[in-house]
Structures are given as C-alpha cells and as structure tokens.
C-alpha cells in the first residue's frame, strides 16, 4: 500500500497531523475503541500508521473485534492473510462465533503479554491462566479446538486437546461413544473378542 503514495501526499503531512494519544511499539494498550480508530483514520490515510497496528476480526455472527496485530498473528492463519495482503479492512472468520472468538482473543492477549515465559513467576502465572481458561463446558471446549485448529494457534490447540485427552482417558468405551457421538458398529461377539485381546487394559 505504501507504493500508492506520491509526492502530493508527502507534502501534506506535517507534525500537526500527528495523533493526540501516545503510541509506542510496546504499548500495553490492546484494542482501541471504534471511535478512536475512526478519528485516527479520518486524519490519515491508512498508509501512514503508527507502529502498533490493529487488525479487525469479524466473527460468524457479525461482531467485530479490534486487536493488536501482535496478538492477531498468534494465529498463523491470520498471519498469512496479513502477509498476503488480504487484511485491508477486516478479516472475516465465518467459522468462529463471537463467543469463541472473544475467548481466543483473551488467550492470545495473555500469551503475548507475558514477557518472559522462562521466569518462574511468569511461567506459573501463565500455567494457572491456562488451567482456568479450559474450565469450560465440553461444547465450548470442542468449539475452542475447532477454532484453534482453523486459526492455526498451536499452543491453544495443544492445551485444549490435552484437556480433552485428560478428560477422556479414564472413560469406558461406552462413555467415549457418547462423548464423541460414535456409533458402535461391532457385533456383540466382535466387541467381546476385542475386549478379550486387550483384557489387561480393563483391569
């Protein structure tokens, strides 16, 4: 987009057009309000943006979320969209509801904010956040997995899948069928045979 600038544009800009609020690359402020964005944009073309760029994400039910680019690119899918230049106005995410998207954004924000995950305190803080984050009902958990997969956020996918694994590892086969809505296509004799072969696992 920078290549659309010509000398006319450059002459027009002077210090008085600089934004009124401080912006720095490491600004902890995440997510500007819509009025701030509108105000800012009316004074400048989007080509001269501050260094903390925001991305607008649109959920399947039409809600929009403004997030810092640094947070948005936790998702490899979004990162590639930005790199390919598809992120001009907003990024539509037709597979993610607003309920789930807001949770995903919360996760990404926390993980981007935590400065040095090697330090013990930060590491424990993050672990405790993750543990609380997955304390949701099964339906939401499954939706988070789908969203993490679609958005390609590896750490979130690992976290949610590990949670499901821990949840199901003690279940009986019948309980598994209920959880995943799987039809039992064994005959009773076949099922008995498989159980017998793996008797050690049923003790």
């Amino acid at each position: 987009m920078l290549k659309n600038l010509n000398s006319k544009h450059i002459q027009r800009f002077s210090y008085k057009y600089l934004p009124q609020f401080p912006i720095s690359p490491n600004s902890p402020k995440l997510g500007f309000s819509r009025s701030q964005i509108a105000n800012y944009r009316s004074n400048f073309p989007t080509t001269i943006m501050s260094s903390s760029k925001t991305i607008v994400l649109r959920s399947s039910d039409g809600e929009t979320f403004e997030v810092d680019e640094a947070v948005a690119v936790e998702s490899q899918t979004i990162k590639h969209m930005i790199e390919d230049g598809c992120a001009d106005t907003s990024i539509p995410l037709p597979n993610v509801t607003s309920k789930i998207l807001s949770k995903v954004i919360e996760y990404c924000k926390k993980h981007v904010e935590t400065p040095n995950a090697d330090e013990k305190v930060a590491e424990e803080d993050l672990k405790s956040f993750d543990a609380d984050f997955v304390k949701v009902d099964q339906s939401t958990l499954f939706d988070l997995i789908l969203a993490a997969n679609y958005l390609n956020i590896k750490s979130l996918l690992d976290l949610t899948c590990q949670t499901v694994a821990d949840m199901i590892k003690g279940k009986t086969p019948e309980e598994i069928r209920k959880t995943f809505n799987i039809k039992n296509d064994f005959t009773p004799e076949e099922e008995e045979e498989v159980r017998r072969e793996n008797a050690w696992a049923f003790e």
Binding site: V96, T97, F142, D143, C161, I168, R177, F180, E197
Partner: protein, 384 residues
C-alpha cells in the same frame, strides 16, 4: 500442526461433534496406552486406527512429559517407577515415586537382567538366560533365538557379552547388537571380538566382519555397560577411552575420541547414559572428583561440556540413570544399595526417592528410561 478439516464439519452449530481428523490425529496420540487399548472396542474405525503401525509410531515418537524408570527386584519381578513428580517436592529431601509391577502372566517369567529399553519395548533376560523382546504393558512377548555365531554363555564367566537394543527408523526395525569377547585372563587367550546383529523384522542374526578397533590391546568394550542409544546409534565405552558408536541403519561402527580438553583419566570411566538425548559420560577420578561430560552436539568433539557433581562421597558407588524429563539440571542416580537419588546440578543437592508400591526391598534400576506404548514385537511377524 494444522489439520485440514472438511468444511461441513466446521459449521458452528455442529459443535457437539469433533471431526474425526482432529480426534484421530491430535487427541488420541495424547492418551496413555491403557486407555487406547480400551478404546479399541469403541468402534471398528477406532480399532483399526489404534492398531495401525502408523498410529503406534506416532504415539511413541511424541514428546513425553513423564519420566519413568524400569527396575528389577531381587526376586526377578519387573517394576516401572514414575518419578515425574519431583517438581512438587522441590523443598523436601525425600521424593515419593510410584512403582507399578509389570508382570507377564503367561508364561510367568522371572527376570535376571534388563538389557535395553526402547519405545516401550524391553530387551531382557529371564532366569534361564533366554532373551525376550517384550512390551510389559500389553504382555506381548517375543523370544529371541540364540546367536549362532558367537559364544554367549560360558561357565565361570569366561565370556563377556554386551548388548545394545535400538530402533532403526529408516527400516522400521528393532535391532539387537551383541559384542562378545573372551575374558582376557581366561585360558582362551584370544583377542577376538564377536559382533552380531539381530533384526526383529527378519528374525535372524548376522555376524559382522571384523573392524579395526578391536585389534589393539585392551580395546574391548567396558565390561559393565550395555549400549546407550543416541541419535539412531548405539554406543559403548572402550577401555582405550574411546566411544564406539554403531549406526543402526547403516550398521557401521564409528569411533569417537574423547577430546584431550576434557581430560585424560586413568581407567576410571564409570558409565555412559543418554542425558536428555545427548551422550553423557560420567567419570570419577582422584584429580577431578566426580564429573559428567556431555556431548552437546553429536559427533562434534569440541562440543563436550563438563560439569562437576558434588554431594557424593568417594566411597559412594552411584550409577547414572537418566535426566529428568524437561529438567536439564536434575540427574537421576542409582546407589549400589538399591536406592534412587535425584541430584540437582545447580543446587548441588541430592534428594532421596522413596519408592511407594514397590517390592519393598532393593531394586536394580536400568540405566535409561521407559515409556509406555502400544508397540508390539509381534507386528513384524504378522505381515509376513
């Protein structure tokens, strides 16, 4: 990893069902073998998936977040010991670890020695000196035939045999390497060393032609240690202060000299184990005390680092077992009396491990770790 999923399954309203691709590719590999074996009876699809060699491999090749040891009691019973939880007991001097007996029911076997542990399979000798490759969790047993090319057992211990057991990824095969040599003080007066390789897939032994390195005097492998597997190779120490590596795929030997920088101590190598995927040699000498040398980069002589181990008296005979999973500064040692100890390099402190649920007496811990898996020695036999 990112799984491409059929878009139909992705509609927000179908949130009750996880697509099969995700369940199969990501969730199932995270489960312990016992759960997976139970879930074989969920449906035919799950049964064939969980039993497939590809899935079994994905499962045991993933990163493990637990540290399990394998040990024998004095009566020949096999135990796995889970010491992952040391993190919770950092302030205590005494760490509880849960032991679980792994018993082979039929035939009921008692074990003399564990010779190797790889991907959930163990190579072990029973009380009759018969060698087995087995998965102690699933009870799959495979008897290894005697090697026809080398003397493996003689009265009065005139023959020393060292073993190595490893997995050749390129050929999807498990191999046993045996190195036999006559006791230098025996009446045989022969410097001959026999190197044989057994392939599980082919169920046959082969004798390898002589290599140079064992023509010298004293250049026989250390008479105590069985091979440590690093980087697709088995390793042994020689008395000539060299490390011999046997590449499982190419079946070639390679010698690696101990760099002069690390020091030249007289005949005091104590042992060599896998420390977090790297080769670690533990040495004891009067001049430098107890040290651990690690080859940070495989095959690169300059990459050896050295760390001093404090906290053990000279008389204490300790054998390194492994590194705690995910904790690079904690080494697990076994004491000769049968106790297990976790040593922290930075704190220079050792903490005793209290084994709960074990045999109640002393245990002999295998130098290395154990993983639970669904791997079976028999899967090679079925296809043919």
């Amino acid at each position: 990893m990112h799984i491409v999923v059929d878009s139909e399954a992705m509609s927000p309203s179908a949130c009750k069902n996880l697509p099969l691709e995700i369940t199969e590719a990501i969730i199932l590999p995270l489960l312990p073998p016992k759960s997976l074996a139970r879930f074989k009876s969920v449906s035919k699809t799950w049964n064939s998936l969980i039993s497939s060699p590809h899935f079994i491999k994905t499962h045991f090749l993933q990163t493990h977040h637990t540290t399990q040891l394998i040990a024998l009691s004095t009566t020949g019973s096999l135990y796995s010991i889970d010491i992952t939880e040391t993190l919770l007991y950092l302030d205590r001097d005494d760490i509880p670890a849960t032991a679980k007996e792994l018993r082979i029911r039929s035939p009921p076997l008692r074990w003399k020695e564990i010779l190797g542990s790889c991907n959930g399979l163990l190579l072990a000798k029973d009380e009759n000196d018969t060698m087995f490759v087995m998965n102690p969790m699933t009870q799959d047993l495979w008897e290894v035939p005697l090697c026809p090319f080398a003397p493996v057992y003689e009265e009065y211990e005139e023959v020393y045999v060292r073993y190595g057991f490893g997995y050749d990824l390129s050929a999807d095969d498990y191999k046993i390497v045996s190195i036999s040599f006559w006791n230098p003080y025996s009446y045989h007066d022969s410097k001959e060393t026999f190197v044989c390789v057994y392939s599980l897939r082919n169920n046959s032994w082969r004798k390898l032609p002589d290599c140079n390195y064992y023509e010298h005097d004293y250049t026989v492998v250390d008479d105590v240690i069985n091979g440590a597997v690093i980087n697709q190779s088995l390793h042994w120490l020689t008395r000539q202060f060299e490390i011999v590596g046997f590449n499982l795929a190419s079946e070639e030997f390679k010698q690696m000299k101990f760099p002069v920088l690390v020091g030249f101590y007289r005949g005091l190598f104590t042992s060599m184990v896998d420390v977090g995927g790297k080769l670690g040699v533990f040495m004891r000498s009067e001049e430098a005390g107890f040290e651990c040398c690690v080859m940070e980069e495989y095959g690169v002589a300059e990459s050896w680092t050295k760390v001093r181990i404090h906290g053990f008296e000279e008389e204490d005979r300790v054998w390194p077992v492994c590194l705690l999973q995910g904790r690079n500064r904690e080494i697990v040692f076994q004491e000769t009396e049968g106790g297990v100890v976790v040593y922290n390099i930075d704190e220079r402190r050792r903490r005793h491990v209290r084994i709960v649920g074990g045999p109640g007496g002393n245990v002999n811990v295998f130098p290395g770790t154990f993983v639970e898996s669904l791997e079976s020695p028999k899967r090679f036999m079925i296809a043919s």
